[in-house]
């Protein structure tokens, strides 16, 4: 009971770090965020929490710019994200000052993951309760990275974090194709979010980055338009399926009758 009082994250007898696992639980309570990588575009989609009537929606933003060419979103404790985003922003500028080059997506991901890991092995602190998705372009190649409270990071073709992330990930695994163009990538991101966002397009925010590294946020009308197209396609799919069933049922009926 002596020098180990200060550490909050200690091993359990069977090798678990419970604080880290509880932090992952906190992430699972946060609003969903999804990232999809296309051929020459990378898209972030976030589930927007319904803003209270008296709240100013412009001050509730889940997508943050870290530098001119890198963008981040997160799931979990918003306040923890604010701290981590600020550290990352300072690191981006510090990197530019010392090596006269902007950070690569991998570098800043490694930095953020490193900070998250440090807080699992320090005295008197708890881990950050967020997972992050980072997007950007390195030398014309689109990149999508994910970090989590344990300090693990890796690159993904498509990823989801937060509420119902498992459902979204299964959807992405089924429907992701390599080298999708801009429209298909955006559509996939919206479709995957629509799986879990009951209220539809008005609670979805989409941001995308092309090879020019300019972040473009789609406004509500564009998201509505694409959602309408998706709904139409879904309806056509359902109709086709029911028609096929109807045909085969009729065939069975005719052969038996």
């Amino acid at each position: 009971m002596s020098g180990y009082d200060s550490a909050l994250t200690v091993f359990s007898p069977d090798g678990h770090l419970f604080q880290v696992e509880y932090a992952l639980e906190a992430v699972r309570k946060g609003t969903c965020a999804v990232g999809v990588r296309g051929k020459d575009v990378v898209v972030l989609g976030v589930e927007k929490k319904t803003v209270a009537k008296l709240q100013d929606p412009r001050t509730v933003r889940k997508i943050a710019m870290l530098d001119d060419h890198i963008c981040l979103t997160f799931a979990g404790l918003t306040a923890d994200a604010r701290v981590l985003i600020n550290k990352a922003r300072i690191e981006c500028q510090s990197h530019r000052l010392t090596v006269e080059d902007p950070v690569s997506v991998e570098y800043i991901t490694r930095y953020i993951a490193g900070v998250q890991q440090k807080y699992t092995q320090s005295g008197g602190v708890r881990p950050f309760g967020i997972s992050t998705l980072l997007i950007g372009f390195d030398h014309g190649v689109p990149k999508l990275y994910q970090t989590d409270p344990a300090g693990i990071y890796s690159s993904w073709k498509a990823a989801s974090i937060g509420r119902s992330a498992k459902t979204v990930r299964e959807f992405l695994e089924k429907n992701h194709k390599d080298d999708m163009d801009r429209d298909d990538t955006v559509k996939l991101a919206i479709r995957s979010l629509l799986e879990i966002v009951q209220t539809g397009a008005k609670n979805i925010e989409i941001a995308l980055m092309g090879a020019d590294s300019m972040l473009k946020t789609l406004d509500a009308s564009e998201v509505e338009a694409i959602t309408a197209v998706i709904e139409k396609e879904k309806a056509e799919e359902a109709e086709k399926k029911s028609k096929k069933k109807g045909d085969s049922a009729a065939a069975v009926a005719s052969t038996s009758g």
Partner: protein
Amino acid sequence: MALLPGMQALFGIVGKDFVLTASDTTMARSIVVMKQGEDKSRDLTPTTQMLYSGEAGDTVQFAEYVQRNCRLYGIQNGVSLSPRAAASYVRRELATSLRTRNPYHVSLLIAGVDTKTNTPELYWLDHMASSVKMNFAAQGHAAYFCMSTMDRYWVPDLNIEQAKSLMRKCIEELRVRYIASLTKFTVKIVDKDGIREISL
């Protein structure tokens, strides 16, 4: 003829809705001209330019440090510093440095357009951490020769051609009367659309 920091010339002239800036392009050490074509400025925001002169090394170190911090402010707050705020910040950094063992020995001109009001502004700062808002300014020995020229011909609301003509007069004055040969100048215009190089 040893190098004196004063031998670097910086100019700024405030026009109707722009600031015209000029800096000489000579990098010299003692009696040797090391390089021509050096741009002695850094952009602090998309509409604010800082020109620097002074001790070698100090200049670029300080300018890039300030540039990075201005950019950080822009990213953290979603909006860039105004020229007045940027000059205030830079002056504060100079003041802190002044009472250290080894202060930054730099002379600066900060030229910018405040995007909210579309007004052009020019600030003169030196290593003693003074900061003055001016309509036209010069740093270095050039000031002794050209402030009187600018005093005589500057009027409010200059258009670009008039400002360029005044700048040409100043540079000509140096060519005739100043012992150092400052032949090439980098001339830029700062307005609400950004910072771009022009030729006189």
